[in-house]
């Protein structure tokens, strides 16, 4: 397993509690110690920020010193600077930002992003719904809506983060990729691998929410062939980002 790329990293202030590695410098130090060579980073502030541009500016500023980390700024149909965005990936929080994946304005935005070869990253949830602040309940993004969106744009990859193993098993559009962060079954990754296969499964730790090494242990101890392990660790995402990621 040569390359390790983490598609599920965040930085900034989560509104509800401080996270031990919320500063990107601290997180990056831990990533390096764990042998992770790169990652996709989104903003912890963007889901609940009233101004995603502020959150995106902070994200880009944080990532500036870490070329191995790819920022995935947030977009939403009603903040129309997505028309001018220059990024390799963007983050979508449809429930937090209150838009539907099949609304005409969403489809217009997605189409424009895909035309520029920008990867849409759909975050199903940021945290276990059972532990959310009682006054701030956010439902997960429905899997059926993700499937339907992906089917509208065949041939274009979409990355789905933080789906449970059961939800990953219900992702059925061939252009969908899913990460491993919430797929904690026994033994590690078994259900997701059985139902979704490994070619579109990619390593994501959801750090700093989750312990980075917990995510890595799924790769280490999951019942995988070396080829499958290498695919999840980095080769599968290379198909999207290329070798220069």
């Amino acid at each position: 397993m040569k390359k390790l790329f983490d598609v599920n990293l965040s930085t900034g202030r989560w509104p509800f509690r401080r996270l031990p590695l919320e500063k990107l410098s601290d997180l990056n130090r831990r990533l390096r110690a764990a042998g992770i060579s790169g990652g996709l980073v989104r903003s912890l502030e963007a889901p609940f920020s009233m101004n995603i541009y502020e959150a995106n500016d902070l994200l880009l500023e944080s990532c500036r010193d870490y070329p191995e980390l790819i920022p995935a700024p947030s977009v939403r149909p009603d903040f129309t600077l997505w028309r001018e965005i220059d990024a390799r990936a963007v983050t979508l929080h449809p429930v937090c930002h209150q838009y539907s994946l099949d609304a005409p304005e969403t489809l217009e935005m997605i189409e424009a992003l895909l035309r520029k070869k920008i990867l849409p990253v759909i975050v199903v949830r940021e945290e276990d719904e059972r532990g959310q602040h009682p006054l701030c309940r956010v439902a997960p993004v429905p899997v059926d809506g993700i499937n339907a969106l992906a089917r509208r744009f065949p041939g274009h990859p979409f990355l789905v983060l933080n789906a449970y193993a059961g939800e990953i098993g219900r992702l059925d559009a061939p252009n969908l990729y899913a990460d491993t962060a919430f797929a904690e079954t026994f033994p590690a990754l078994s259900h997701a691998v059985e139902k979704f296969g490994t070619e579109h499964l990619v390593f994501g730790s959801h750090s700093p929410f989750f312990c980075l090494e917990s995510g890595l242990s799924k790769l280490e101890y999951g019942k995988l062939t070396e080829e499958q392990r290498a695919g999840i660790a980095g080769k599968n995402i290379e198909r999207i980002f290329g070798n220069d990621k």
Partner: protein
């Protein structure tokens, strides 16, 4: 360092072979089996409770070198059954305490028979517990309930399960209950809760538990190993506290 996982389940439909194999692969030296506690739903009958305990007893007898067990109970059942079933289970040396799930909220007066028996036998209780924003079961206990129980029966040691489900607020509710311990299991391997619990109630009252096979050993174990704790704190949480609690 030997690792003792005090929160695992022997599930009837999948056997224990893979559980033991995975535990050993992760360097876990000993397990506490809590039974297939939801095998017959939320409120099992006496016969169903006995069936669950038969499985755990068989496991403990045949794998005593690797596993201890807890007797599962529905505390709303007839007091005579509760006394008899505890006596039957505790006759086996490897059965060390009682596990409660979601049959009865633990602040209920119906807990009395069970708690008096635990005090008499000087055995601990491991109580399922969670602060839930959504999805709470009808009789599920939360940390406020555990705090009431602990103060009503201060001589009984109680393990409040699922630190990551109880969160910061859960730790606060039991902080002034010296007879309450907390296990590290519960949901995803969220970072930060364990560090908080160590600061707030100390490593002496924390025990490593995975909730396998509902969860994965590696995910849950690494959350503890990588929390930035001292080796002395880790030794207590991963091993020593369990040995002392179970009088091994």
């Amino acid at each position: 360092m030997t690792i003792f996982d005090i929160h695992t389940h022997n599930m009837a439909h999948r056997g224990t072979g893979e559980l033991y194999e995975q535990a050993r692969a992760h360097g876990i030296g000993r397990l506490l089996l809590l039974g297939d506690v939801l095998r017959h739903g939320e409120t099992p009958s006496a016969e169903q409770v006995r069936e669950i305990n038969d499985d755990t007893l068989a496991e403990v007898k045949s794998h005593g070198d690797f596993a201890d067990g807890f007797c599962f109970m529905n505390p709303a059942l007839d007091p005579q059954f509760i006394r008899g079933e505890l006596a039957r289970c505790f006759a086996e040396p490897g059965m060390k305490g009682v596990k409660l799930e979601i049959s009865l909220c633990c602040r209920s007066p119906l807990m009395r028979t069970l708690m008096e028996e635990l005090e008499k036998y000087d055995r601990p209780l491991l109580q399922h517990c969670w602060f839930k924003t959504v999805g709470k079961y009808a009789n599920e206990s939360d940390p406020t309930d555990v705090a009431v129980l602990a103060k009503t029966y201060p001589k009984v040691k109680i393990v409040m399960a699922h630190l990551c489900g109880c969160g910061y607020r859960g730790v606060e509710y039991i902080a002034d209950c010296p007879n309450v311990y907390v296990d590290t299991s519960g949901g995803q391997p969220e970072d930060g809760f364990l560090q908080y619990a160590v600061r707030r109630i100390g490593a002496d009252r924390l025990l490593y538990g995975s909730d396998a096979p509902c969860r994965d050993f590696g995910c849950q174990l690494h959350k503890v190993l990588n929390a930035g704790l001292s080796s002395a704190e880790l030794e207590k949480i991963l091993f020593r506290n369990a040995m002392e609690l179970l009088k091994k």
